[in-house]
């Protein structure tokens, strides 16, 4: 690919990017969210058109306007979200991509045979008549890869293939990637996981702000250099963000919950949040982190325990009551629970503040604009103006809007559920800095996260959950990575 340019209204997504792929290599494509990786991939695979530049395949310039045409020429893609129709059977899904049949008539016998052959290339033996949705995400991923591959595939693009796989599934996927590599296929691998980049790729290309920062063989670069290439800052700045900070005395207690719980959701547990203190909430996936934050916020109704806010009884709690008493929640899933993607940044920021004031007293437009401008500046949100639709922002910037919105209602307590999920290293560090700043301003914060490093970096005190109940609490100097892992694992594991 040479000199690829693509711009969207208001943003130049790709600016003169060159990318060379060699047969039989795994080429990792890296960059922060919004750096242009996804756009580049979509241009490369025909999902969107380019403004300028050429794509040269085996020495000849090629043109295509759909993913199907690109696939016929030998460029196949598996996009970020597994793209299969989950209600349809495996055979029918695979038949979508292939060109079988005369006059548009499908012979299901042949389609089944083709499907079986395609899956055989990946050593996959599954029931072809079951709907795709009944298989695990890992299997779906493999089916998607099988469907993308055809006889003349020269380039296979995998966009975040490991995002929802566990370690074992990832290893299985990598075996297949290596197998494909040995057949001379160039694999473009996009991921946020740096370990995986070093494990599997031969060369890397880094994008930043729509420009190519550089392409290097993996052996010539260290992890630190790679990170600073991605975020364009010196490594020291990044590392300092993740280091543990000085502990200090917490202020007055704001929220106190005793025996708060709900049957089949969370065993009763105690938790208290103090002014100027960050409480980390650690535990494995499904241990009850999200449930606890939602119980405190009142988004899930409790059936046991008591909760006081500023010394006053707060039960039964509702989200509305929480907002009114100064508790704000930034939920785990930005897209479905946190933001209204169709609305602009300004409208999203004003939402909960408006709810607090009541619908009849409209926040004046001037004030809205002023607030939005302040927040964009304070949070350093990368956007041309406050009237941009939120769904057009990158993940990190969306998360900042979530925070901004929660802050706009001037809360005393903030509950953050996975504040850094799905965002890149640079934005990650910025969010952590923000959390610390908020804490210094006297807010009480609860940060639930699956990333233990993050918790160690921000928390003054850590509450640890396992199997939907509280199993421990660590304070001050005791908050270390090892201590948290030990508590999560429990004694039985620690013994062995």
């Amino acid at each position: 690919m040479k000199g690829i340019c693509k711009s969207f209204p208001g943003v130049v997504a790709l600016d003169d990017v060159d990318l060379t792929l060699r047969p039989g290599e795994v080429h990792a494509l890296l960059g922060e969210n919004g750096a242009g990786k996804s756009t580049l991939v979509k241009v490369l695979t025909g999902a969107i058109s380019r403004d300028r530049g050429d794509i040269i395949l085996d020495g000849t310039p090629v043109e295509f306007s759909t993913t199907a045409e690109a696939a016929n020429l030998g460029i196949s893609t598996v996009f970020q979200e597994v793209n299969l129709v989950s209600a349809m059977s495996v055979t029918k899904n695979l038949a979508l991509a292939s060109q079988t049949g005369r006059f548009g008539v499908i012979s299901w016998k042949k389609a089944r045979q083709d499907a079986r052959e395609k899956l055989k290339r990946l050593d996959l033996d599954i029931d072809l008549e079951q709907p795709v949705g009944t298989f695990s995400v890992a299997i779906q991923q493999l089916i998607a890869i099988a469907s993308a591959l055809n006889d003349n595939t020269k380039v296979l693009v995998l966009d975040e293939p490991t995002a929802s796989l566990d370690a074992q599934e990832t290893r299985a996927l990598f075996d297949i990637v290596r197998e494909l590599k040995s057949r001379g296929i160039a694999v473009v691998f996009i991921t946020h996981f740096l370990e995986q980049v070093f494990e599997i790729s031969d060369r890397i290309s880094v994008l930043r702000n729509g420009q190519l920062v550089g392409t290097k063989p993996i052996d010539d670069i260290s992890r630190g250099e790679l990170i600073s290439m991605m975020i364009g800052k010196e490594l020291g700045e990044v590392e300092s963000a993740f280091s543990r900070r000085e502990g200090k005395e917490p202020g007055a207690e704001i929220v106190r919950a005793e025996g708060l719980g709900r049957r089949r959701t969370l065993q009763p547990c105690d938790i208290s949040l103090h002014k100027g203190e960050v409480v980390g909430l650690a535990g494995l996936l499904g241990s009850g982190r999200t449930e606890l934050t939602k119980l405190i916020f009142g988004a899930i109704k409790n059936d046991s325990g008591t909760m006081t806010v500023n010394g006053k009884q707060q039960l039964p709690n509702t989200p509305r009551k929480s907002i009114n008493t100064g508790i704000a929640l930034c939920p785990e899933d930005r897209k479905t629970e946190g933001l209204v993607g169709e609305l602009t940044i300004r409208e999203n920021i004003v939402l909960s503040m408006q709810a607090k004031k009541g619908w009849l007293r409209k926040v004046p437009f001037k004030e809205q604009q002023k607030l939005a401008a302040e927040m964009i500046k304070a949070m350093d949100i990368a956007t041309p103006d406050a009237e941009k639709q939120v769904r057009q922002l990158s993940g990190g910037n969306q998360q900042k809007v979530v925070l901004a919105r929660a802050l706009a209602s001037k809360p005393d307590v903030m509950l953050l559920d996975e504040p850094t999920r799905g965002i890149d290293v640079g934005a990650h560090a910025e969010i952590i800095v923000l959390i610390r700043k908020l804490c210094e301003e006297g807010l009480a914060l609860l940060v639930a996260s699956s990333e233990i490093n993050e918790i160690v970096a921000v928390a003054d005190r850590v509450v640890i959950l396992r199997d939907r109940s509280k199993v421990g609490e660590l304070v001050g100097q005791d908050v270390t990575r090892d201590a948290i892992i030990e508590t999560i694992a429990g004694e039985d594991v620690a013994d062995s």
Binding site: N83, K92, G104, P131, G133
Partner: protein, 324 residues
């Protein structure tokens, strides 16, 4: 292998149909006969034909509200052109082309302008109904001798029943619909689009041509329904077919197709339409019940089916709900 879950709604529909038929048989003498069956098929053939077209639209996640107006418009055109000396068959072919073109235009507008099918076909509904009144304000008879010939065609069924020509046309249309839905690439694309349009697009389905084809096909089936209706009633009336689009949608849903798209079968639509016909026949057989009960029982049944779907789909989601 256990029975595939996707057949459950279809089986439920057939069970309801058979149950209603048997209940009718136990209540009234002569009900459980091929004669009643043949009559239901003939009387409801145009609804079922229109519903087959609507099945494709609904499978793709869309909706077509222009069906009833199309039936009315085709009817008045058949009648007026008949009085001008056209042969009904020639008019029929002409009107089928019109239906395809009109449907294709609706499909193109839906995809090109990214407007909801509801609005576009609602506009189509008003447009075609208005055109009906432009053509004629009165009921116009179709007097060509072909109509007598058409209504004289009968195929004997075992017992005293017969399959009339309308039923025969409907069965051919049904076979065509089943073939297109389940044995062509286009049919597979329709299911994929209804299941997950974005995934379908990324897997190489051309959404624009598929959308145009879907609505063109629906236009074809509605126009065919209009032709059958005109020949069956041997007249054209500008108000004919009002609210029939909703009856067609009801038949599709009763037939086990999900309104959200992607799940369902064309064969189910036949039984969905037959259930509607069976209910009205039952109430007419009773004699003492007001015809208002037809709509009330249709409504109740529809509601029951939707709840049943919800339960079926819900259990399916739990099993396969691994996708984010």
């Amino acid at each position: 292998m256990t029975l595939n879950k996707k057949y459950l709604p279809l089986i439920a529909t057939i069970v309801v149909f058979v149950a209603l038929f048997v209940i009718g048989g136990s209540m009234y003498r002569n009900f459980l006969s091929t004669m009643v069956l043949g009559n239901i098929l003939a009387d409801n053939s145009f609804i079922i034909i229109a519903a087959i077209g609507a099945t494709f639209v609904i499978l793709s996640g869309g909706i077509d509200l222009s069906v009833g107006s199309m039936i009315g418009f085709v009817g008045v055109c058949m009648a007026v052109l008949d009085s001008m000396g056209w042969h009904p068959l020639a008019t029929a072919i002409f009107m089928l082309f019109f239906g395809v073109a009109f449907g294709a235009a609706q499909g193109f507008i839906i995809d090109f302008c990214k407007i909801q099918p509801f609005i576009v076909t609602l506009a189509g509904l008003f447009l075609l109904r208005g055109l009906c009144f432009m053509v004629t304000l009165d009921s116009v008879p179709i007097q060509h001798e072909f109509v007598q010939f058409y209504s004289s065609i009968k195929v004997d069924l075992p017992g005293r029943g017969v399959l009339r020509s309308s039923a025969l046309v409907m069965l051919v249309a049904l076979a065509l619909g089943i073939f297109i839905a389940h044995f062509t690439r286009f049919g597979n694309h329709v299911y994929a689009m209804g299941g997950d349009a974005e995934s379908a697009r990324l897997m190489g389905v051309n959404i624009r041509t598929t959308t145009v084809k879907i609505y063109a096909l629906a236009g074809f089936f509605s126009a065919l329904a209009g032709v059958v209706y005109a020949l069956y009633t041997s007249s054209g009336y500008p108000l004919a077919g009002s609210t029939l689009e909703l009856t067609a949608i009801a038949a599709v849903v009763l037939g086990g197709t999900l309104l959200s798209g992607g799940v369902g079968m064309v064969a189910g639509t036949l039984f969905g339409g037959m259930i509607l016909g069976l209910i009205s026949t039952l109430i007419i057989f009773n004699g003492s019940l007001n015809s208002a009960w037809i709509m009330i029982s249709n409504g109740a049944l529809l509601f029951l089916f939707i709840v049943m779907h919800r339960v079926l789909v819900g259990s399916f989601d739990l099993k396969g709900g691994t996708k984010e």
